[in-house]
């Protein structure tokens, strides 16, 4: 029988679900059942389906066990003995249909995706360069350096139509050519792994799961544009990604893939990892350059663009992690292969971090042009509980919220922008009927206000004014004129600000006003929060018919606002109640006696 491989993913999220303990327990059991020579263990990066973590996958068949606990290790290992059957209770169960699915590739979350950027994530060991090479790794680099001139590489990338996946969607090939053509003594390359957009983790997962693909992309880009020094700017909040990158870099150096005379050619390239110190605006390329120079991350006006004058005044190519991870595929398979995916103006695939109120949270890679509906309902499995979909947020604080009637919108750079949102770097947060859109807009503005650099008056003060108006509205003190004022202010901020952050700060407000104006109006005119989120506009009440005086809520109430005696329905003292919702959550599954109005 072919040797079987047992995969236990070890991404940040898998680890927090207990994947390390499961891995150790499985190894122990392998020894116990005398299987240590029959099976091989592997710890790949995240497979992307966080919902089922920790998951154990047995290759080559692709059997998948979901939600494995340490105590399941024994039955899993025993099932590998001759003639035994796998423990079926550990198979993945589809939440809606309760069907069990034994094989990874049959699970809709995986089968409906098309993965190549994420191809290695969850399958290879990110700590092993051999594993990466076995799957064709560094072949593209070899091909580029030995069979292609820099200009041929650039032409191939141009021809592929690859657009930058960091948010802007600038054509990668064009940027490379501009950098190539810019005169300079030393050119630099920066991999933008700052990923500050709250609600996205695709770059982290990629760095954790397939760091060599990013390094290979950087090397090819460096060769093409004539750069000799590369930086990976990665946020310090990602310790595991940094560690995996350090290991990968060390291995690449040992194999003479980084350093002088790479693969024995004339091409030399050095690389360094720089840890970002926690500032969202540093994802913006000019702010990032300032930060690399040891300064406050203040964006500055372009032109000159970094490709002309960037780090230390030299031509600098800045690309996102995913953009760079796509390169090896284009070089290996050709531009035509890449162009065949996606839409006319947006080629290839896009990676999203799907999260929020959706059944299957995780990493999703799909061809450009697919509908939001397919991502959220086809792959994501829809909304949990009996709740209704309300909105999907893409593009982070610079993006927008799209409503249910736009679910058939195609996901590509231009269509999303026309709908008022943006592709962004890949965050996709789903919201259900319990999400208040005014509160959501307020949330994003509060985030941006904290993160903006403060240079431009319109951005700094305009954002604050907008936030104060939104605060007023969520307190029930909004005025009918506030909505027009918000739009006006939004336009001023967007037009009067220097960088990409300021120019897009108003987006979440403007799109929610465009698509969910009735919610704003309910807050202002009726002093009502339809989603029952805004604390000043809601009251908790106990239904006397349903209350069984079980004392659960009474004990749990943090402010002792619930009063009552045995066998007598309780009452909430409104002036003590802080509207935390603890009582409602506790009672919901039991008697449903508490309501929020």
């Amino acid at each position: 029988m072919a040797k079987r491989t047992i995969l236990v993913s070890q991404g940040t999220c898998c680890k927090s679900a207990g994947a390390e303990q499961v891995y150790t327990a499985l190894k122990k059991e392998a020894v116990k059942w005398g299987l240590e020579d029959e099976v091989e263990f592997k710890q790949p990066g995240c497979h992307g389906f966080s919902q089922i973590d920790p998951a154990v996958i047995i290759e080559p068949d692709g059997l998948l066990f979901a939600g494995v606990k340490e105590e399941n290790a024994s039955e899993i290992m025993q099932s590998l003995l001759p003639g035994r059957r796998p423990p079926e209770h550990l198979f993945y169960t589809e939440p809606h249909s309760s069907n069990t699915i034994p094989y990874k590739q049959k699970i809709p979350f995986f089968s409906r995706q098309q993965r190549f950027i994420l191809h290695n994530c969850g399958t290879i060991d990110p700590g092993s360069i051999e594993d990466y090479v076995k799957g064709g790794g560094y072949e593209a680099l070899h091909k580029a350096v030995y069979e292609m001139t820099p200009l041929q590489v650039i032409a191939e990338i141009e021809d592929s139509g690859l657009r930058g996946l960091g948010g802007g969607g600038f054509l990668a090939g064009n940027k490379w050519r501009l950098c190539y053509q810019s005169p300079g003594d030393q050119k630099y390359l920066i991999c933008n792994a700052d990923e500050g957009d709250p609600g996205s983790f695709q770059d982290r997962s990629l760095l954790e799961g397939d760091p060599h693909a990013v390094l290979e992309g950087m090397l090819i880009a460096g060769y093409a544009v004539g750069a000799t020094k590369g930086y990976i700017y990665v946020r310090a909040e990602y310790p595991l990604a940094i560690k995996r990158l350090q290991i990968a870099l060390q291995q690449a150096r040992e194999q003479e893939l980084v350093g002088k005379n790479i693969l024995g050619s004339d091409f030399s390239f050095e690389m360094e990892i720089f840890q970002g110190a926690g500032a969202f605006v540093c994802g913006e390329e000019t702010a990032l350059l300032q930060s690399l120079g040891g300064k406050r991350g203040m964006p500055y006006p372009r032109p000159p663009y970094p490709v002309v004058s960037g780090l230390h005044g030299q031509p600098t190519l800045i690309n996102n992690v995913k953009t760079l991870a796509s390169i090896r595929w284009i070089i290996n398979n050709g531009a035509g292969w890449f162009r065949a995916k996606g839409t006319e103006k947006s080629k290839g695939t896009v990676v999203f971090s799907l999260s929020g109120k959706v059944v299957n949270c995780g990493l999703v890679e799909v061809p450009m042009g697919i509908s939001l509906r397919e991502i959220i309902f086809g792959i994501g499995g829809g909304i949990p509980g009996e709740k209704a979909f309300k909105a999907v947020q893409t593009g982070g604080p610079s993006g927008g919220c799209l409503p249910a009637d736009l679910l058939d919108t195609a996901v590509d750079f231009d269509t999303l922008r026309d709908a008022g949102s943006i592709m962004g770097s890949g965050g996709m947060v789903v919201m259900d009927e319990d999400t208040c859109m005014v509160d959501t807009a307020r949330f994003f503005l509060a985030f941006s206000l904290k993160e903006l650099c403060g240079q431009c008056t319109t951005c700094r003060l305009g954002t604050r004014q907008m936030l104060e108006i939104l605060n007023r509205i969520t307190r029930g003190e909004g005025r009918p004129s506030d909505l027009d004022l918000l739009i006006q202010l939004g336009e001023v901020v967007a037009q009067g600000s220097l960088c990409g952050l300021g120019r897009t700060v108003p987006n979440p407000v403007l799109t929610t006003l465009r698509y969910f104006r009735d919610e704003y109006e309910a807050h202002i005119n009726e002093k009502r929060c339809p989603a029952r989120v805004c604390k000043d506009l809601i009251t908790y009440r106990i239904d006397h018919e349903k209350c069984k005086a079980c004392s659960l809520c009474l004990k749990a109430c943090p402010t002792a606002a619930i009063k009552g005696n045995k066998k007598q329905a309780y009452l909430i003292e409104q002036d003590r109640c802080v509207r935390c919702g603890t009582c409602l959550d506790l009672c919901a599954d039991r008697f449903g006696a508490i309501e929020c109005i």
Binding site: E70, G294, C361
Partner: protein, 175 residues
């Protein structure tokens, strides 16, 4: 006291030894300093300023721009509660409220006994497990509910909701 200062000077020297002393090394230097002390002591920033030949105010201006840098010691257990989008949508506000109530401190504060400090951050990159918190920037706890946070000193078990099987095992002690 003298010993203490001497010790610190040795630590600083050790940190500086892996740098050349140029301005663009400021952020990595500060990161190293913070790793040693848990925050940026004023005296250390002074020495950094001297080492890279810039004014103290410039060091402070840069350090205060970035949210990673702290100017006060944190508690032994530094809890960061995520208030990113995914966590916000899934009830991170309630998690923070519960933590604040249980610890008796507000976000940004440290308990009097220096055991715990609480900080709200935007996204720790585990959005699929929202809402989540991190302890000492290492251990991440996801899929929290206010009820789970309540059992601070007890093991957290995989939640069961609506009788549905939930695939999250949550081993270990939380705090």
């Amino acid at each position: 006291m003298v010993d203490y200062e001497l010790k610190n000077r040795i630590i600083m020297k050790e940190i500086f030894s892996s740098f050349r002393g140029t301005e663009n090394e400021l952020i990595p230097i500060l990161q190293h300093v913070q790793e040693h002390f848990g925050y940026l002591p004023e005296s250390a920033m002074l020495e950094v300023a001297r080492f890279i030949s810039v004014s103290e105010s410039k060091v402070y201006a840069t350090a205060s721009f970035y949210s990673q840098f702290r100017f006060k010691a944190t508690g032994k257990k530094h809890i960061t509660v995520c208030q990113g989008t995914a966590c916000h949508v899934r009830g991170a506000g309630k998690i923070q409220d519960t933590l604040e109530r249980q610890l008796g401190i507000k976000e940004g504060e440290t308990t009097a006994d220096q055991e715990y400090s609480l900080e709200a951050v935007a996204c720790i990159g585990c959005c699929a497990l929202a809402p989540c918190i991190a302890v000492n920037n290492e251990t991440i706890y996801g899929r929290l509910t206010p009820q789970k946070v309540k059992v601070v000193h007890e093991p957290i078990r995989g939640e069961r909701k609506n009788g549905q099987k939930n695939h999250s095992g949550q081993p270990g002690n939380m705090l």
